[in-house]
């Protein structure tokens, strides 16, 4: 097994772990961390692609690296926005649950005739 395959597999494991956390964990902060773990897995895939493309004789394919750094910045901004929203939610309601609020009408009112 060469290095790129090994790193590729690691990336797949990270994405899988992150997806599990994002689906199963009810806490938004943990969801956000899970999102970052998925992100790291995907960034690692991008790095593997850069390394694989380096077979052409360069030290590394620079284009995926440029994409990667952009994607990291965007993901960081997303995390910052999510944390800010989460803090505000806690300030406002005292809880951090994002479960659908007990529906005032939409769901329950459906029985009305």
């Amino acid at each position: 097994m060469d290095a790129t395959t090994l790193f590729g597999l690691c990336a797949a494991v990270l994405v899988g772990l992150g997806l599990y956390g994002l689906v199963v964990n009810p806490q938004p902060l943990r969801k956000l961390i899970a999102f970052n773990i998925i992100g790291n897995g995907i960034f690692m895939i991008c790095a593997v692609i850069a390394r694989r493309g380096a077979a052409a004789g360069f030290g590394g394919d620079p284009v995926p690296q440029a994409l990667l750094i952009t994607a990291i910045v965007v993901a960081f901004a997303a995390s910052a926005l999510a944390v800010a929203t989460l803090l505000r939610l806690h300030e406002e309601t005292g809880s951090t649950s994002i479960a659908p609020e007990a529906p005032a009408d939409a769901g329950r009112g459906s029985g009305g005739h």
Binding site: I42, C46, V74, A78, T93, P100, A106
Partner: protein, 586 residues
């Protein structure tokens, strides 16, 4: 796909750069001058942006000169190219008109009167409006998948704070749920982009289209890209975040979210499926996409009909209308598969999107005016509304007519083109879905109007009269959506459109309204009392109990699908489903 004109900046190509840059510059200027002057800066920016969109439309739509701009003179695959074809130009124009309409409308809600302290809420609204617009324009002109990713993120980051402008706990919760689900979508999309780069060494759409062939990685990448975009578009059954987000936001913000934001990610699905991989995605996979759309149309509309509150009703009707946008894919793929021209299906999809953008914004604006003037938006208590604020209720009705696809609306012409394409490619089931959608849309429009037209003793006391500018801007958008059909028939040369506006069309419209009324009576949550209604109710009671039970079942299923674990597992299952459908098609 037109011949690749890479490494060539066309005359007028700078317009595309300006279309993206002007809203962003306006945003920065607004940030500098602060709350009190922000609105003037924004209005100035919008006037400029509208002129740019018109100039682009004149070049591309009327003179048939596609525009292109190569950033920094670096051609793809290393550089980035901006291009505008008919699809981009038309969407840019529709977006500019809707943004202008919303800006006029929002003056009443987010203006800062003399002597009033500046508020962060109104400053945020104006800046986010421009941010959404800049992001959308970038989506419309970009020609590479990665820039598409950045543009979509810009759009999401602007849309999320719009949801919680009011700052109540409930809206912040809706915003956070939207953000987290959208981020899951972004990650899937990004993974797809990287896989494509790893396979073909480019993310440029034209180069990918030339190089792409069927292969397992490509198919996985298409499935990931698509589902990432669908999560952001909130196509049923991935709509968990949409109803609370779109109904909780202030009306002007809802109009932006429902009318414009969801069209951004949809637009990239069109690019991916019809421009980049038309030969790779089989008709069966496109039918899966349309099947989700069909489920959206049926479930979204039925749940809309079972709402007590007007804004939630309109939000659920957005869920349904997103479904309409995905009907075009199997039709275009089917026509192309038979060696026929896929352009009519494509034009129809575009027309549908423009028509919905205008009508949906108008409908949310009308609902917002009703909420503000009456003080609530409980549908059953809207009696007297039509008398107190006739223009607003008229706007709601016109927007409803445009959404149903009655002549002469843009959606009507789109529907005719769809029917034609469905018949030509042997996919008649889509006709059934479109017809059912029209009946259901008619039913909830009629239900709301029946309540609003009910007289009350005396005159309904309004908390405040609706603002005249708000009413007029909503009316103009609704009329624009209605009259789009006339413009479209002039521009789309197609046999089935000659004589589109005849008596037969009018008769069909009456049928839609009649069936809609029956559906409303069968399924509606609270029916207005009608003279002689009780005798009829006794006669048809058992039947209605049956239909209502079916409606309640749909509402329950919808509620179940909107739980986070269910929705995210559905998302992953759909990734596998699409990958399997694409692989199976070869």
């Amino acid at each position: 796909m037109p011949a690749h004109t890479a490494d060539m900046t066309t005359p007028g190509g700078l317009l595309l750069v300006l279309a993206v840059l002007v809203p962003v510059l306006g945003l920065l200027a607004g940030l500098v001058v602060g709350g009190r002057q922000a609105r003037s800066v924004v209005l100035l920016t919008i006037a400029l942006g509208l002129a740019i969109a018109l100039a682009v439309a004149r070049e591309v739509l009327f003179r048939s000169n596609p525009l292109a701009y190569v950033l920094g003179g670096w051609a793809p695959p290393l550089g980035i190219i901006l291009q505008a074809d008919g699809l981009s130009a038309a969407m840019m124009l529709a977006a500019a008109v809707v943004v202008a309409g919303i800006a006029v409308y929002a003056g009443g809600n987010f203006g800062t009167a003399r002597g009033e302290p500046e508020s962060r809420r109104s400053l945020s609204f104006w800046l986010l409006l421009l941010a959404v617009w800049g992001g959308l324009n970038l989506v419309f002109v970009t020609r590479d998948l990665f820039t598409g990713y950045v543009a979509l993120e810009m759009l999401t980051f602007a849309a999320v704070p719009l949801v919680c402008l009011d700052g109540s706990g409930e809206t912040i919760r809706a915003a956070l749920r939207y953000l987290l689900f959208a981020l899951l979508g972004s990650m899937l999309y990004l993974l797809g982009v990287f896989l494509l780069y790893g396979t073909y060494g480019t993310v440029d759409m034209a180069l990918l289209a030339a190089r792409a062939g069927p292969g397992l990685t490509t198919m996985a990448a298409i499935a990931l890209l698509t589902l990432g975009l669908l999560a952001k578009t909130a196509l049923f059954p991935l709509h968990l975040w949409l109803p609370p987000a779109h109904s909780g936001a202030p009306p002007a913000a809802s109009a932006i979210l429902s009318g414009l934001v969801v069209k951004g990610s949809w637009f990239l699905v069109v690019r991916v499926w019809l421009d980049v991989f038309p030969g790779v995605v089989p008709v069966s996979a496109a039918q899966l996409l349309a099947a989700c759309g069909a489920a959206a149309i049926l479930a979204g509309n039925v749940v809309a009909l079972r709402q007590q509150r007007l804004k939630l009703l309109v939000a659920y009707s957005t869920v349904a209308q997103i479904g309409y946008l995905f009907v075009m894919f199997p039709l275009a793929a089917g026509l192309a598969g038979l060696g026929l021209d896929a352009a009519p299906a494509r034009s129809a999809g575009l027309l549908q999107a423009m028509s919905h953008a205008l009508a949906k914004a108008a409908m949310f604006m009308a609902a917002g005016l009703i909420y503000k003037s009456v003080g609530h938006d409980r549908i059953a208590e809207l009696a007297g509304c039509a008398r107190a604020m006739p223009l607003t209720v008229l706007t709601f009705a016109l927007a409803g007519i445009a959404l149903m696809g009655l002549p002469p609306s843009g959606a009507y012409v789109a529907k005719k083109l769809f029917f034609d394409a469905a018949a030509a490619s042997g996919q008649e089931w889509l006709e059934f879905v479109l017809n059912a959608g029209a009946f259901l849309t008619a039913s909830y429009t009629i239900l709301v109007l029946a309540h609003a037209l009910r007289p009350v003793g005396g005159r309904l006391l309004l908390k405040a009269p609706p603002s005249r500018a708000g009413e007029l801007s909503a009316l103009v958008l609704a009329l624009a959506s209605l009259l789009l059909g006339f413009v479209a028939t002039g521009m789309i040369p197609h046999a089935s459109l000659s004589g589109a506006f005849t008596l037969a069309g009018l008769a069909a419209a009456l049928v839609v309204l009649a069936v809609g009324a029956v559906v409303a009576a069968a399924l509606g949550l609270q029916l207005p009392p009608v003279a002689g209604g009780s005798a009829l109710a006794g006669l048809l009671g058992p039947l209605r109990r049956l239909t209502v039970a079916a409606g309640v079942l749909v509402v329950r299923v919808d509620g179940g699908l909107r739980h986070w674990p269910v929705a995210s597992i559905t998302l992953l299952v759909l990734v596998l489903g699409f990958a399997a459908a694409i692989v199976n098609g070869h």
